[in-house]
Amino acid sequence: MKHFVPLLLLILSVSTLKGQSCVYTIEGRVLDLHDNTPIFGAIIKIEGSDLFGQTDEQGYFKINQVCFGQAKLVVSHISCDPIDRTVTIRSDVKLNFELEHHINELSEIIISDDGLNQVNSSVNESQLNADQLTRLSNQNLAETLNSIAGVSSLKTGSSIAKPMIHGLFGSRVAIIANGMRMQDQEWGADHAPNVDLNGFESVQVVKGAAALKYAGDTAGGMILLSPERINLKDSLYGSTVLNGVDNGKGGSINTRLTRSFDNGYFISGHLNTKQFGDRQAPEYNLTNSGLKETSLGFRLGRTKILKGWEVNYRRFQNSTGILRSAHIGNIEDFLRALESNSPLRIEPFDYVINSPKQEAIHQNFKATYFNQYSDRSKLKLDYNYQISNRKEFDVRRGNRSAKAAIDLTLKTYDFLGSIQWKKDFEWNFEWGVNALLQDNFSNPETGVKRLIPDHQKYQAGTFLTGNYRPSNNFSWEWGFRFDQVIIDAQKFYDTSNWISREYNIRYAEFEQKDFGTQILTNPRLNFSNISAQTGFAVGIGESVETTFSYMLTQRAPNVSELFSDGLHHSLASIEYGFIGLQKETSHKLILGINTQNKFLSIGIDPYLNRVSNFIFIQPSGVELTIRGAFPVWEYQATDVLMWGWDANAKINLSENLKYNINAAYTYAQDILDAKPLIFVPPFSLFQQLSYTFPKSEIEIEMAHRFTATQSRFPDTNFRVNRIESGVIVQQEVDISTPPNGYHNFDLYFLLPLAKSNFKSTLRLIVQNLTNASYNDYLNRLRFYATEIGRAVQLQLVFNY
């Protein structure tokens, strides 16, 4: 809280500063709504001033010396009535106008700013653009998002990372790739999303369930990945990025190419391959931490302003080594690993990825069709088929290491259809339906008890959203969504477990067939979820914008929470799902205060999230096995209160010197048990200082990240009886205490190469500049080794 008050004061003081100078530019393009041809000779005038611009033969215009504040733009052309639109000028603006100039009676224009359409104007969102993505093209999704306040990653070792928003992850964070939700077994904490950012052009992060169109169960938030926007002209363009990194002696090659035609047809493809050997921590080699990844994709379609279609295919394949030392047999092995300062197995550098490892193949086929039947309504249909295979290999006896211990195939058929319509310019509505069918198959060939049972999931949902935007300074958004979820599983329970938990009494109707030591059951579970959202965005004065949003989300427990059943090899624990879980309900309030002028922009977003029936896993007892006593972790539900804030500030110290800082804090408490929640990101701060040399355009940037020590954590320690010199000694295994906070520095150099037809750049990136040795609380393998040390990366980008 102590950070909050000064920030607020700063915001207020900034808001009283008025940008007096008339230094802004409005530029953009005017195109024909139908065939996207440039309109020549259109006049764009700022009413009440003598400023105006005229489009050239390519449809481009530019207006200089625009003053701070509101500006009413009037667009006119010889064959249409003039049209006006009011915008607030706080910085340079890019606007595209699409003019209906064939038909005189229609005077519709569409305005889109140069960036992406905002998902929901009452929730602040963060974006990464193509340039930022290129810079991070070597990293995975979660790592890429780490520079955004309020986003962190839950890691398993050095290359598996899951994005976390406001302390929530997994099923509570949806990844929407090209307009459809990724369905790739997002439930497991130790499994990264099967997606390669190189196939996309921009990433948006919205905190909370702001886009009910895609999902209504994401209390954490949504990550929207958008593919490249196609140029509607005859062109062939693409880029190639080469990365080489010393740490892990690896790198990546990624290339994409797009051919577009002026009649709207386009075809584009991308290919990315990445390989790393063992990574190095400052003090030792991280044995078996290599990675191999290949992804490819293509898009084919025809896009015009009024209608279009697209087919899209993406394939992602990877093989990820898991630190060899993290594979242990029992809790005494775990305690030994904990007591040791370095991993218990360190071998020389190698590219080979041995067990334990994960292998994933994710394929995604999507077809889209849209048609704007009239100037007021638009139909959009999306069909998506995803097939995701995940294999996990353990160190096994009898040459079985080559055989997967987990082999899951998840097929998803997903349909999303929606109709958008608008009434006047102020009211917009969208109504749609979403149907999903999912089938998971657990391959019995593994010879290991199924972690996730075979199951089918059926989901049908409908949503209605709308917004009212009477002026540039006010908007109101609202939405409802209803989902019916049916989970139909076929699960083997150990007969002893089935009876000891009294499932044989409570769930007798699910019993199917008795196999003696195991019993086959067919649980059919039904959940009805309601989600709603409403919010406002209000501009105060000319430079302050406030947003307020309330979201209700309901989430059905996922299959892993209900039915998980297995041994966790790196945490020495047995994990059980709980069949009796009910849906989770979250109420989330997000506020946003933003102020912006030419020199400074500041934003702070406090939030409050009250979740009833919050599903989480926690220790529930001890089970004696042939390998000794194991702690049992079981999925349970409790009530949770979370609050926190994300803040950011950007200061343009001069034309060339820029400073950016953001910070985030999350508080999460289990109300029923009056104890903190596990795996909550500690306070973190990220700052960047960048300088661009005026002539050469060389850029230097220094980034610093501070992650504090998490002081709020639950006690999940357990005890072990160890024999020491002939005496049994009871010892506590401290699995709970978070590691100390740390500082991490990165350095970036950008050198534009010879200006020819290719816009090529060379980058030098040094991560963990000081080669600091540290552990991160959100890394589930933090007990075994430190994070990776200094990594020097050379990146060559060719655009053509």
Partner: protein
């Protein structure tokens, strides 16, 4: 016209896929755990006393008792079994012998003073380190305590005097009560 065609195509792809997927699979197959060890059996023989066979079994989950006499030599042979299917008991000890380099049996005692050496018919790995599948135990004094049996997978060393020294992953760790009489 063209619109309708695209729409129809779209709908038919979607529908076909839905129908294909609607075939409900048959009952899932029962998985026989392949690497499971459910039982540890110690066979204890000596010239002077009757043979003892003690079993640690996952289901009964009780700590069995071994009775020894001080200063007597006992031949102890250990076997690891998978008895999850009563009709088809598997002897995992064979697998351990085949992969002698990747395995190690280790005994640890508390409360009693027992020493052990490699016994007759024991198996050695390629570096001639005994696995102690067959061992000779000698108790030096009377008392009651615990014998802990380990089967270690991929130990980092094959010669050590403590569990920690061996490294590797614990595949088996079970306790037996030992009563040593005078």
């Amino acid at each position: 016209m063209k619109n309708k065609f695209t729409l129809m195509l779209f709908a038919s792809i979607a529908l076909t896929n839905l129908f294909i997927s609607c075939d409900k699979d048959e009952d899932p197959e029962l998985i026989e755990e392949q690497e499971l060890i459910t039982t540890v059996v110690l066979n204890i023989t000596s010239d002077s006393a009757a043979n003892q066979t003690v079993r640690w079994n996952m289901d009964t989950n009780q700590t069995p008792t071994i009775s020894l006499q001080a200063n007597q030599q006992y031949q102890v042979s250990v076997s690891f079994l998978d008895e999850s299917d009563p009709a088809d008991t598997e002897d995992i000890t064979e697998e351990v012998k085949e992969e002698a380099d990747e395995h190690q049996v280790f005994y640890e005692f508390s409360g009693v003073s027992i020493s052990y050496t490699s016994g007759q018919g024991d198996v050695s790995d390629s570096a001639n380190n005994p696995l102690y599948l067959n061992s000779i135990w000698t108790a030096s004094s009377a008392g009651t305590g615990t014998a802990r049996v380990y089967l270690i997978h991929e130990p980092t060393t094959k010669t050590s005097t403590s569990r920690g020294g061996f490294g590797g992953e614990t595949d088996v760790e079970v306790d037996f009560t030992v009563v040593v009489s005078e």
